[in-house]
């Protein structure tokens, strides 16, 4: 399918099988549509301290990564991204495909006064290998010295191993690596991984995995008209130290001080239907909201979603699903961690009761 101008597979076979492969073993995704941009210059850290809502002062050790929003002056989210501290004069950003042009223009506009040069790395492809067995599969393909360094990589760190930048990050809720590598090496690595039993996985599985893991999707769960506090992303905003001014800080403080009017919650649907973006949500006696992301959770065997609702919303809501008002439970994401369901489902409860009875 056409995904923001990139021709990408939704699935190679069954997207549900691909999902289970990642939760139980390992899968590989082509995420080369993501934009890698290296920022160069001795004042790069200062620039990022101003541009990002999370604080790059947290990046003290080389290779450490940080997930952050980049805000506009109204505290709307321009994008969410990961920034890697490579060297004091070089930080790497990975931003979304659909927002690449706007992001790079925004960064370049702010970079000038700091003397920072932005280098878009169109020479790199990116593969994500994810699942409990993912790292072992990648390590097995590396020469011994590189294998040891890859094996030792802590969570949310990256390291340059010859041509490959290997980062212990991902968008599935499982352990694994994201590998940024020269374009010509991507297909051969893919084939080697397949040969070792790593399943090819497409966009369909990518979406069900990230939603189970409670991870936001830019464009659905937040955009330039929503702020992080109403998008489940308060944890990514560093208000301390109070002396650090960042773009959007003043607007965001105003929202924080007044108390955000809306919040992003998780929903679990116990009925035989699927939550989908834009369905209307009713919080009884409180007001309306909207589903921002919805899908069928293969791990839970029911539909899950994220929704932006009035802040005072309680434990249950009703969702208008194709003309019927269905009850949904409000939960705190994630829905799944380490392959296990964190939220109970009626199906699980009835089968447990059946087994016990």
């Amino acid at each position: 399918m056409d995904f923001g101008g990139w021709d990408m597979p939704v699935a190679y076979g069954s997207q549900i099988d691909e999902h289970h492969a990642v939760r139980q073993a390992a899968g590989v995704f082509d995420v080369s549509h993501m934009c890698v941009a290296d920022l160069h210059g001795p004042r790069t850290r200062e620039l990022l301290s101003r541009l990002l809502a999370n604080d790059v002062a947290r990046l003290a050790m080389s290779g450490k990564a940080l997930y952050s929003c980049m805000l506009n002056e109204r505290a709307g989210v321009i994008d969410d991204l990961i920034v890697y501290f490579l060297a004091e004069d070089c930080f790497r950003l990975v931003v979304n495909a659909g927002t690449r042009t706007g992001d790079l223009a925004w960064i370049a506009h702010h970079a000038g006064p700091y003397g920072v040069r932005v280098e878009e790395r169109t020479d790199l492809a990116m593969l994500a290998v994810q699942g409990p067995a993912a790292r072992e599969h990648v390590v097995a393909l590396l020469p011994e010295a590189d294998a040891a360094r890859a094996r030792a990589l802590p969570v949310f760190y990256g390291t340059q191993l010859r041509d490959w930048f290997v980062a212990r990050t991902g968008y599935t809720g499982e352990d694994g690596f994201e590998i940024m590598l020269p374009l010509a090496q991507a297909a051969p690595l893919w084939r080697q991984l397949n040969a070792a039993g790593v399943r090819s996985c497409g966009l369909g599985a990518r979406d069900t995995l990230r939603l189970e893991a409670g991870m936001n999707l830019y464009g659905n769960d937040m955009d330039e008209h929503t702020n992080p506090l109403e998008s489940g992303l308060a944890w990514t905003v560093a208000f301390e130290p109070a002396t650090r001014d960042f773009v959007g800080r003043a607007s965001l403080e105003a929202v924080r001080n007044a108390g955000p009017a809306r919040r992003l919650v998780g929903l679990v649907l116990d009925e035989r239907a699927v939550l989908r973006a834009h369905q209307r949500v009713q919080a009884p006696g409180i007001g309306d909201g909207e589903v921002t992301s919805g899908t069928f959770s293969p791990t839970l065997s029911c539909s899950i979603g994220l929704a932006r609702v009035p802040a005072a919303t309680g434990n249950t809501v009703q969702v208008d699903v194709r003309g019927r008002l269905l009850n949904a439970r409000v939960v705190r994401p994630p829905f799944v961690r380490h392959g296990k369901a964190l939220v109970g489902t009626i199906a699980a409860a009835t089968s447990a009761a059946g087994a016990a009875g």
Partner: protein, 128 residues
């Protein structure tokens, strides 16, 4: 190339019809349809006893991607539905013409006119 068994009849909306020895017909959706839908997660089937007009929306298949209506290929009455699809909707994907059957209808008089042969349906899907 999707699988289109020669011994069945079809509709433009991707349902198939199999005539059974007892005069009823068995109905499901084609291989082309299941591939386009992706993994099914829910199937809603009509109540036995319900009378259907040809072309009437009578069932819903919901995949991870989207929900779609299934249309009665002929006028008739629902005799029985495939109860297995409640637990195993994926049968429609893995075995659309066998284990993935959806319902059996007793056709109204003259109802079997107007269905497509396998060849004609192949032409429809080739154009799709």
């Amino acid at each position: 190339m999707s699988n289109i068994p020669g011994d069945l009849q079809y509709t433009r909306s991707h349902e198939w019809v199999r005539a059974l020895a007892d005069g009823t017909v068995e109905v499901g959706i084609s291989d082309h349809a299941q591939a386009a839908l992706g993994d099914l997660v829910f199937v809603e089937l009509p109540e036995p006893g319900r009378a259907l007009k040809a072309g009437e929306a009578c069932a819903v298949v919901e995949s991870v991607k989207a929900a779609s209506d299934v249309y009665a290929p002929i006028a008739g009455t629902v005799v029985t539905v495939n109860e297995q699809l409640a637990q195993s909707p994926e049968l429609v994907n893995s075995d659309p013409y066998g284990g993935g059957w959806m319902m059996r209808l007793r056709p109204a008089a003259g109802a079997l006119e107007g269905l497509l042969s396998a060849q004609a349906y192949a032409a429809v899907t080739a154009g799709a």
